[in-house]
């Protein structure tokens, strides 16, 4: 009897046989390359190199992540006064006198200026081994921090709007969703036209609306507006996707709760606050996780629209990984960036999981 039961419930051979093709492919094409990325990141592997590959430990990571502070005192002239330029600004020694072949500052060797600011009469400089990568990290986080909440909230607003009973509402739902199915590359090329500095549709629209008062802006060519423009476009493109997820969440909320709220005389805000929102908790977590993951993988828009420019204002981590690893054929450098990104994504999803568990 016991033997019989175990043959009924244990199917080791069939189980493995059915799961193995899929699982094997995933091991070969996700897990193995991922392990390779970790291994390469600790070597000096290049795509084509005359020298054999060597193990270099954490050198690539050091090269990527090293940051240092340098405080510069004003230059004192021979007469003991502070040297000033024609405009009365204090002058400071050049940063490269510290970072190039200066034995007293060996730890700064090869570093470059990331950014500086004035503190009292001193100039404080933050140096990085790889300022471009640092900018990419900052931009990526900025992108995630702006896009995730904004896209989530706007998508929810659209879902609420579309969730009413109106004739032809399905047509609107279909239109709002449309950009999702179009390739992000196609969308990026179209938006280059919209953002164009001279003949751009956006500038023309602003010109007309402001009756000619607003001067045209080169949206993608200006370091102050480039990243924001890409954020706006990215939100626009994927919002329909998240709208639909919210919509499916909304439809799981029992109508009796709404009826009860109506009988109690709740205002529409109160209904949202005490009925709709609590019912959407799980959906909210999911939307947030999906948006965050997508935002961290920001690549195609950058590649098509700005290539990281102007002045590195739209560099992102994935763009750097691809440019390094593929463009410059520096496999080890690109792999190290990939691993850093993975650690970031992993920690953030663990954090999100932790926080969402707390609330339950």
């Amino acid at each position: 009897m016991q033997k019989n039961a175990s043959t009924l419930t244990q199917h080791n051979r069939s189980g493995w046989l059915f799961a193995l093709p899929g699982f094997g492919l995933m091991m070969l094409f996700i897990v193995v390359p991922f392990v390779f990325a970790i291994v390469f990141s600790m070597t000096n592997q290049r795509l084509i190199s005359p020298n054999p590959t060597q193990f270099v430990g954490l050198e690539n990571y050091q090269q990527l992540l090293s940051v240092n502070i340098l405080v510069l005192e004003p230059v004192i002239t021979a007469t003991g006064e502070r040297k000033q330029d024609a405009d009365g600004n204090l002058s400071y020694p050049r940063i490269r006198t510290y970072t190039r072949n200066n034995p007293d500052y060996a730890h700064l060797q090869g570093m470059k200026e990331w950014f500086t600011w004035q503190w009292q009469d001193k100039k404080v400089a933050i140096l990085a081994s790889d300022p471009v990568f640092m900018k990419a990290v900052v931009n990526t986080f900025l992108f995630v921090l702006v896009v995730a909440p904004l896209q989530g909230a706007l998508a929810l607003a659209l879902a609420l709007l579309i969730n009413q009973r109106l004739k032809g509402i399905n047509v609107y739902r279909a239109i709002y969703f449309m950009p999702v199915v179009v390739s992000i590359v196609v969308v990026s090329i179209l938006w280059r036209f919209i953002y164009d500095g001279q003949n751009g549709l956006l500038n023309n629209l602003l010109h007309t609306v402001s009756l000619g008062h607003l001067a045209p802006v080169d949206w993608l060519g200006n370091p102050d507006t480039a990243l924001g423009s890409i954020m706006a476009m990215s939100i626009w493109q994927a919002i329909g996707f998240h709208m639909v997820i919210w919509l499916s969440g909304l439809q799981t909320i029992s109508p009796t709760l709404y009826e009860a709220a109506k009988i109690e005389g709740a205002s529409s805000w109160q209904t949202f606050r005490y009925v709709t929102w609590p019912g959407l908790k799980n959906t909210a977590v999911l939307v947030l996780i999906v948006i965050t993951m997508q935002a961290f993988a920001l690549f195609a828009q950058i590649d098509v629209m700005t290539s990281g420019g102007p002045l590195d204002s739209t560099q992102t981590i994935v763009f750097q990984a691809v440019e390094r690893g593929y463009g410059k054929q520096d496999i080890s450098g690109g792999s190290a960036i990939s691993v850093v990104l993975f650690v970031m994504v992993l920690s953030i999803s663990l954090l999100q999981r932790y926080f969402t568990r707390e609330k339950k």
Partner: protein, 292 residues
Amino acid sequence: MSHNTTDHHRLRLVVRYTVLSLIALIFIFPLIFMLVSSLKPDHQLLADTASLRAFLPVGEISLANYYGAFERAPILLFMMNSLLVTAVTVVLSLFFCSLAGFSFVYLNWRGKGVVFSIILATLIVPFETIAIPMLLMVSKLPWIGLDGLTWGWLNSYRVQVVPFIADGLTIFLFTQYFKDLPRELIEAARVEGSSWWQVYWRIVMPLSGPIIATAAILKFLVMYNQYLWPIMVTQQEQYRPVLVGLQYFFQLNTAWGEVMAYLTLITLPVLAFYLVLQRAFIASIASTGVKG
């Protein structure tokens, strides 16, 4: 009094439809611009961006840009490549992922928990982070084809298909769906002596229409819109998909009309597919929101 409330009601309806329509314009205007511009000669296309004419098929309208686009690039070849790679990957993906999902839901085997956890964990690995090691790897993989054993997968269809057959999301979607199928059916079939393969092929799959459509649509979108990987692995024209074909259109003096014609051509299949299967598309995204 009642006359007043119907007026009020009507006004509210007008406001609602106006708001909905204005938002719709925001979502659709780039696509209209693309379609309309593809019909205009370059000088007019650029001049028209200064006014609402950018969205209207007026002036010198012709299909000249489309003829030009076909001369500039082997569009039919790229189109066939894209459709071939996409279709083959979708079909194989549905088969292998549903098979794995079946195994996770209905079969008990040692190691199942660990294997399933690994598959779920892959969901947080962005593809771009493994693209470069994978490029190195596939460039050295063996393959047994018509001309015997060969090494290196670059410039081929297989390099665009095989790595994408199995993915965590598709397997996950199938397991979620299979869990809700009535167990009695499966048990009854087993008692009658069906093999697991027969249960899978004769009973479970015929009941899985909705999830097959869902998984197919999601995979179709991902595959047809692939960008980074095909650029890396197809140096030869013969195997290139449509998005890599875009490179033919950006030269010193970009012919924007032709670019727009090409963009329209590569977008139309997806849009047509979407408009016909709209409900299924939206349902497919909605079901990724099913809480696991």
